[in-house]
């Protein structure tokens, strides 16, 4: 079941580059929230702060508070615990090249020491069904490597891998930007179904995509969050001039 995310005064740096400045925002549970903005505006950095992926870069730094449910993730927990609750799907599909499809999905559990084979079989099937990949791969789960699938299939495999650890939040960093239109629409359909069970944050540079899948949308510019509101409001009647300029294509 999804939980809400509460962000207060989040600041992030890459070296001396202040990439996120004073972000405050509440993300509601069991909804899709889209983050839009021109490239380099900090939206990717923002989602990487939510599962503490940002800090894997040695020159990166974060201050501020992020609460997921009732856990202050920078105070009360270690990154590993957070990442088990917050799944992430990256811009480019990144299945483990040395593993079969099955092992790719089961990786999050197996590599954490989970060894109940029957339960694993069930979880793998359920995750693949949830990511709408089951029918395409069920016959060669263990025969084919994850890297042998097409780009769109690989991305759904990565979604299945994230779902297998039963997260509460699913972060998606431009999940369809490297895919063809057919795969993109499949991913979007998937997001529609998944948000019943998970809190979804999706970063996209494609405004139509944000409009199609998200209830709420935030607009980022130069490391700041300019506006955060319902998707309807952002796209029909934004209150900030910069948002309007961006969504009407005047820049970015």
């Amino acid at each position: 079941m999804g939980v809400g995310i509460e962000v207060q005064n989040l600041n992030a740096w890459y070296g001396s580059n202040h990439t996120l400045q004073d972000i405050c925002l509440n993300i509601s549970a069991n909804q899709a929230t889209a983050l839009i903005g021109p490239s380099g505006c900090g939206k990717s950095t923002f989602v990487r702060c939510i599962n503490r992926m940002h800090e894997t870069n040695p020159i990166a730094r974060v201050t501020g508070t992020v609460r997921i449910g009732d856990v202050d993730i920078y105070k009360d927990a270690k990154p590993v615990e957070i990442r088990r609750r917050v799944g992430m799907v990256f811009q480019r599909p990144n299945p483990f090249p040395t593993m079969s499809i099955y092992d790719n999905v089961a990786a999050g559990l197996k590599l954490n020491g989970y060894s109940n084979r029957r339960a694993l079989d069930e979880i793998v099937e359920k995750s693949l069904r949830n990511s709408a990949l089951w029918d395409e791969v069920k016959d060669d789960l263990r025969k084919k490597s994850g890297a042998s699938l097409s780009g769109g299939q690989q991305q759904r495999l990565c979604i299945a891998r994230a779902l297998a650890v039963d997260p509460e939040v699913l972060l998606m960093d431009e999940p369809a930007s490297a895919l063809d239109p057919v795969s993109t629409s499949k991913i979007e359909d998937l997001i529609f179904q998944l948000k019943a069970q998970y809190t979804i944050v999706i970063v996209t540079h494609n405004m139509q995509q944000a409009a199609r899948v998200a209830e709420q949308t935030g607009f980022f510019l130069n490391g700041r969050m300019v506006e955060f509101d319902t998707t309807h409001k952002i796209f029909t009647n934004p209150s900030d001039k910069r948002t309007e300029d961006y969504i009407t294509g005047r820049f970015g």
Partner: protein, 360 residues
Amino acid sequence: MSAAPPEIRVNTEMAAPQQAGSGDPAAKSAEPSEVRKYLLSRGNSAFGDRAFHVLMVLCSLTIFGIVALIVWQLVLRSQMSWHAFGLKFFFQRFTDPDTHRSSFWDPIGQQFSALPFIFGTLVSSFLALLLAVPLAVGTAVFLTEMCPKILRGPLAFLTELLAAIPSVIYGLWAVFILIPQLREHVNPFLISKFGWSGLFDDTNPTGLGFVASGIILAIMILPIISSLTREVMTAVPHSQREAVLALGATRWEMIRMGVLRNARIGIVGAVILGLGRALGETMAVTMVIGNSAEIHKSLLSNGASMASVIANEFAEAVGDMHLSALIEIGLALFLVTIVVNALARVLVWAVTGGAPRQAH
């Protein structure tokens, strides 16, 4: 920027967001799944990560450990010779009180001087560089700038193989092929044509000696110099070449001005690295240099290098002082090669950037 704004179709059915928690209340209160409970029980692995990190740091520290170990042991075991001879160990010469003949290395009489070995090492390494550097740079120029693409891979591979052949096999080849050739053809030629210089005389009929070790060393250090030169030359940006070509330069002028000039620091580094190899090369030299602790002007006479005297005498050293003197030579060799290699690395890294490039 006059393009029409993109048409945005907002999905109106869901335009009014539901409030968090207003979903299905039954689902909300559901127990966490079995998977979730399992993962919650797994802890944060902070200890495991910490321990693994420390372990890997320790592994990498063994590199420093090895250096420390070498210095410690060699300094410790060469104390005896150091106390007996001091710095003079590296340049003295003795006169036998009975025969009045001068000597350098007399294990029976307990008199030791490293001078002939330093001389032998320098002479054979210098000869090797003289032969190898022009060839290595020529090969590198050919491979990077002139060679048809199809040949480049196999030729680079061949030079790589040359670098991987063990020293003892070069020695074996030299003993059976190179030395007879030198004895029969090359040395007589050198003596007849250049004997006047005094550098080539006919007192040593074996074919062994400095020329032989210089040639075999040259063959051995060619690959390393040429492959590093190649690396340095490929690191020169293409814009440099194009800039010179655009001025109407021929290919050679382009190579000279656009490539070699920019890569020269790195090439010097490559040559120095080759020198480092030549200084310490042991087996092949031991097999062809003739192993005699003397200093002659003639390049065709027998000699010995620092490494060869250790290889040749260590296992049968006649006493503690003999051992200690050999270890002191080893220590000197270590320090010299460390300095030479460090210098070379700094020069090569200055051009290529050091750490391997990282994939993303």
